[in-house]
């Protein structure tokens, strides 16, 4: 490891993932290796069915790899038990999804506050932090709105605030702009990138959206289970 480079917050070495389909075994990921450092934004592109979401699930401690190693903050996590994986998700990882996945019965601020509650903080401390993040994503006027009363872009801002709130150092985003129009998507992405950089969060965005490349530091391309660095293609 280069002494001048920051310590990677996430590292994957030779990750493979196989799924069984009857008697057949389908290899979705074939020896994936990658690193994410704090403040870095990486975009992961690839055709549908190339294994992007599977890789995101493994890096997010939701699925386990068939083989290979995953390290979060230097600790190997790929062989961890489900309880340990849940704890890692709680303490280290924030998610942003295409479908937002907000709680329909909670207001914008409560959605963020509940995520903070799950991470161990409660009471006025959690409320203040949730309010701060809602302010940061520009929804101060709509903090008490239910998701059903927010636009797609506003919902995604709430989801971003929820992912960034708390101690999570790694933010994994799955098609965060897929449900947003061009203009809104661009604003949301820029905000996302700015906040992640500002708060030294490592950001991995899985997307088909060409608007994402320019705001990221690196571009990875996944095809047929093999990951290549496509940064040079985008520059």
């Amino acid at each position: 490891m280069n002494a001048t480079q920051p310590e990677p917050v996430l590292r994957a070495e030779g990750v493979c993932k196989d799924f069984r389909d009857g008697r057949d075994t389908i290899s979705v990921l074939k020896g994936i290796s990658l690193t994410l450092t704090p403040g870095e934004a990486v975009v992961l592109e690839g055709p549908s069915g190339s294994g992007k979401t599977t890789l995101l699930s493994i890096l997010g401690c939701i699925l386990t790899a068939t083989s290979g190693e995953v390290f979060i903050k230097g600790q190997r996590v790929d062989a961890s038990k489900p309880g340990r994986l849940a704890a890692l998700r709680r303490d280290c990882i924030g998610f942003v999804f295409q479908q937002f996945n907000l709680f329909g019965a909670l207001t914008a601020q409560e959605n963020v506050e509940y995520a903070i509650n799950l991470k161990g903080a409660s009471g006025s401390r959690a409320r203040k932090e949730a309010a701060k993040w809602i302010d940061r994503v520009g929804l101060a006027e709509r903090r008490h709105f239910l998701p059903q009363d927010l636009s797609g872009g506003q919902k995604q801002r709430v989801a971003i605030a929820r992912a960034l709130a708390g101690p999570s150092r790694i933010i994994l985003a799955d098609e965060p702009t897929a449900n947003l129009d061009f203009h809104t998507g661009r604003i949301v992405l820029e905000l996302f990138r700015q906040l992640a950089k500002e708060h030294q969060r490592a950001l991995l965005i899985v997307t088909h959206d060409p608007r994402v490349r320019p705001i990221t530091d690196r571009t990875l391309f996944l095809k047929d289970g093999i990951l290549t660095d496509a940064t040079s293609e985008s520059t």
Binding site: T53, L56, A86, R89, R90, E110, Y114, N117, A126
Partner: protein, 375 residues
């Protein structure tokens, strides 16, 4: 801490109302039905409880206080001679036929005693003196008889088995399990009304023990002297009278079935409602897991929802049952809900709702956090 459980419940108000209505229905049904039944059971033994006799001599295998069979009145002398007996008197409780001014005929349960006040029967009387019953063809009716016999007042006459009897007062809350009205008259007058059955006979012997007398010993002595009769203490006789209606008639089973069905309706409504809600929020619960929450975090939400539904449903159900009480009283019935039963229903409601949410727990346990990636 954000109260996700309450927020989800209140977010879908219609479903919450349906859930709570199911619980309230079950609670009201159980409280009113069992309250009415306990009221009737109380009637079944109220005269035994209120009468200050320590022991009751009955004919062999008498099932309950209303259905006694006559035996020789002279047995009273044998009882009085038992050491430890301070006082003993004959008591007749007998169904007689009453002719109403309308021409209709009704049954009445008639109590015949020589000295009512000594035995605290009836325990609430008004409009006349119970001691006057000894003077001849006089009768006290219970107020509740108006529902069956129409209006009456002191000074009116009614025909008992063809004999004109003057009403000289009223009693209160002297009721029978079957709601047949109760009347009081002199022991010898009652004997003379039905001489074929009651001449020189009695139906019960009431016994007051001397201070310090051993109940068991006196009871055993009386049994030796009256080998073809039964001797009960007040509590065993009251219990026997109540149990007759509970077990022999099938009313207890009927009550159990009603209560069971009420609870079943409550469980089904709550289970269906909570399960539907759980399925609608399934992805949100998967999201809780994706954010690092575990099954306990989701179970906590479900448990809290079940408990909230139980508390609100119980409060509404109990209020409805309380509101039904005046209507029940207006029908001449009693509704008795003892404190312990109220607590049992409360605990039962909580358990019912928690049980109803079990199906949801099983489903949630299988929720994979990876579900959050699906569109």
């Amino acid at each position: 801490m954000v109260d996700v459980a309450l927020k989800i419940l209140l977010h879908d108000r219609l479903r919450f109302i349906i859930t709570v209505s199911g619980v309230a229905f079950a609670v009201t049904l159980v409280l009113v039905q069992v309250g009415l039944f306990l009221g009737l059971l109380d009637n079944a033994s109220i005269t035994i409880e209120k009468c200050n006799a320590d022991l009751w001599v009955t004919s062999r295998n008498t099932a309950n206080v209303d259905y006694g069979q006559p035996f020789p009145a002279s047995y009273l002398q044998r009882v009085r001679s038992v050491p430890g007996v301070e006082r003993a008197d004959n008591l007749i409780i007998w169904f007689t036929r009453l002719n109403l001014p309308s021409g209709a005929t009704e049954l009445v349960i008639t109590y015949g005693l020589e000295d009512f006040t000594r035995w605290n029967l009836p325990w609430v009387a008004s409009g006349g003196n119970v001691q006057d019953l000894r003077r001849g063809n006089f009768v006290f009716f219970d107020q509740s008889a108006r529902k069956r016999y129409g209006q009456f007042k002191a000074g009116d006459y009614r025909e008992f088995l063809g004999r004109r009897m003057k009403i000289i007062g009223e009693t209160k809350d002297v009721l029978s399990f079957t709601t047949t009205p109760i009347a009081f008259m002199d022991f010898h007058v009652l004997q003379s009304l039905d001489p074929l059955e009651l001449f020189d006979r009695t139906v019960y012997i009431l016994i007051k023990l001397a201070p310090g007398a051993d109940v068991g010993q006196v009871q055993a002595q009386i049994r030796r002297r009256l080998p073809y009769n039964d001797v009960h203490t007040r509590s065993t006789w009251a219990r026997r009278s109540r149990n007759y209606w509970l077990t022999t008639t099938g009313l207890g089973l009927s009550m159990f079935v009603t209560v069971f069905l009420g609870c079943l309706v409550g469980v089904v409504v709550v289970a269906q409602s909570l399960y539907t809600s759980t399925m609608e929020h399934f992805k949100e619960f998967a999201m809780v897991k994706a954010m690092g929450g575990g099954n306990p975090d989701v179970y906590y939400i479900l448990v809290k929802q079940a408990v909230i539904a139980a508390l609100v449903g119980f409060a509404i159900g109990a209020a409805q049952a309380a509101a039904a009480r005046p209507a029940v009283t207006g029908l001449g019935l009693k509704m008795i809900v003892p404190g312990w039963f109220f607590l049992v229903v409360f605990a039962g409601t909580i358990l019912m709702c928690l049980g109803a949410s079990l199906v949801s727990y099983r489903r949630i346990a299988k929720a994979e956090p990876a579900l959050v990636f699906r569109g």
